[in-house]
Subunit: 230 residues, 2 copies
DNA sequence: CAGTTGATTTCGAAA
DNA sequence: TTTCGAAGTCAACTG
């Protein structure tokens, strides 16, 4: 990885055209050819960038550019398309290269897949007398996250990390479809999420859909053979 | 902006939990408190990060951490939530700070600038017998998007992506000014946009301003030497 | 000012 | 390989 702090102007042409006026910025050149142009603010998104795989060519400025005080020109080209990032460098204030090696990668925890696995294992969190039928129950309009057998019939569960209106709508469509199947009907809907927004709760309740808030930490604890219910 | 190359492990807890095993990475600390953890590959997204506003606390390792070879601990806390990024640093290979100043920001040449260029090239879309005088014609109250010569005199064009009342008002002010210039008068107004709202159309018509709806896709097609009118 | 939509989205998993 | 959906999405636009 090469890190350069430089006064530069940047222009990108590709799916759109964008331009950055002259200012001091960080230029990051990654091992796979990716180039990132960062300012000293904003979130994690660079001002401008080139996605890998890409290759960079450094050239001298032409007469006009040299006249304008430009010392070198970086041309970064994508290998898969004709996207191009052109960086006109006026002055370099810092330039260093570093060997980083390949990264072992991120381990994520607490995504929807985790929740689904845990709820399938702890299906009693839907209430007493529930048993798992299957996960990812296929329907023509997509898979139902969890299908269970409850005391009063079948239970369809829509699972989200954050429960929003969209999730309720999705579950409603599933329920309509599932209730046409005489082998399953009547099918009750359960909207389960770590956090359920008030609007979603209101809509769900209005449609006779039960809301269940899941405590991920607690479920994780119970899974690891350390039940919190004792 | 502070740039650190270090052997480190990182863990994030907040909306989810994520962990990065020990490896050499770039740590970027921005002026607004944002912290980015980058590897030497991937696109612009960091492996892990903290969004601004945030604050960082550097502490010594506890006994157990020191035993594991950790030399210092960075704790980055979000100010708006209880999200936390913890970086355990084993060894620092590079450490430098740089003053960047505030960035003037990105200029996107999106559809709007494109529209002006295309209409200038395809000025006949205003009607037969039109020829371009200039783009961005300067006036004391701002530049007129396009000035053209029409069959009945000068034509001033105000260009918008979405034609709203505001645009008509703007054009009206230009027209009043331009019509005082005996070299240009009489100046006809044309309000050109991809979409013109009914209210804007009514107002424009009432003021004798002609409305022209532009088909961006069609204009783009004609530009690429692949005219759709054949 | 809140809700909605697009992104040079990126990223991963499943088909 | 392609497609599809989620994301610690973010940022701009619209009402």
């Amino acid at each position: 990885m090469r890190l350069v702090i430089a006064d530069c102007s940047v222009s990108y042409s590709g799916r759109l055209n964008a331009h950055l006026p002259l200012a001091r910025r960080l230029l990051m050149v990654k091992a796979d050819g990716a180039v990132l142009v960062h300012s000293d603010g904003g979130s994690y998104k660079p001002l401008n960038w080139m996605s890998p795989p890409a290759s960079m060519r450094v050239t001298d400025p032409d007469a006009e550019q040299a006249e304008a005080g430009i010392s070198e020109v970086w041309t970064v080209s994508a290998e898969k398309s004709d996207d191009e990032l052109k960086i006109l460098i006026s002055e370099i204030h810092h330039d260093s290269s570093h060997e980083l090696g390949t990264d072992p990668g991120l381990v994520k925890d607490g995504v929807e897949a985790d929740l689904q696995r845990l709820l399938a294992e702890q299906i009693e969190r839907l209430g007493e007398g529930h048993s798992l039928i299957r996960r990812e129950h296929p329907t023509p309009i997509g898979p139902v996250d969890i299908l269970a057998k409850g005391p009063g019939g079948t239970v369809a569960v829509e699972l989200k990390r954050r429960g929003d209106i969209d999730g309720v709508e999705q579950l409603t469509r599933y329920l309509e479809l599932l209730n046409r199947d005489p082998l399953l009907a009547p099918v009750e809907g359960v909207f389960a999420a770590q956090q359920i927004k008030p609007q979603a709760r209101t809509l769900a309740t209005d449609r006779g859909i039960r809301c269940v808030v899941l405590d991920y930490t607690e479920m994780k604890g119970e899974e690891s053979g350390n039940p919190t219910l004792f």
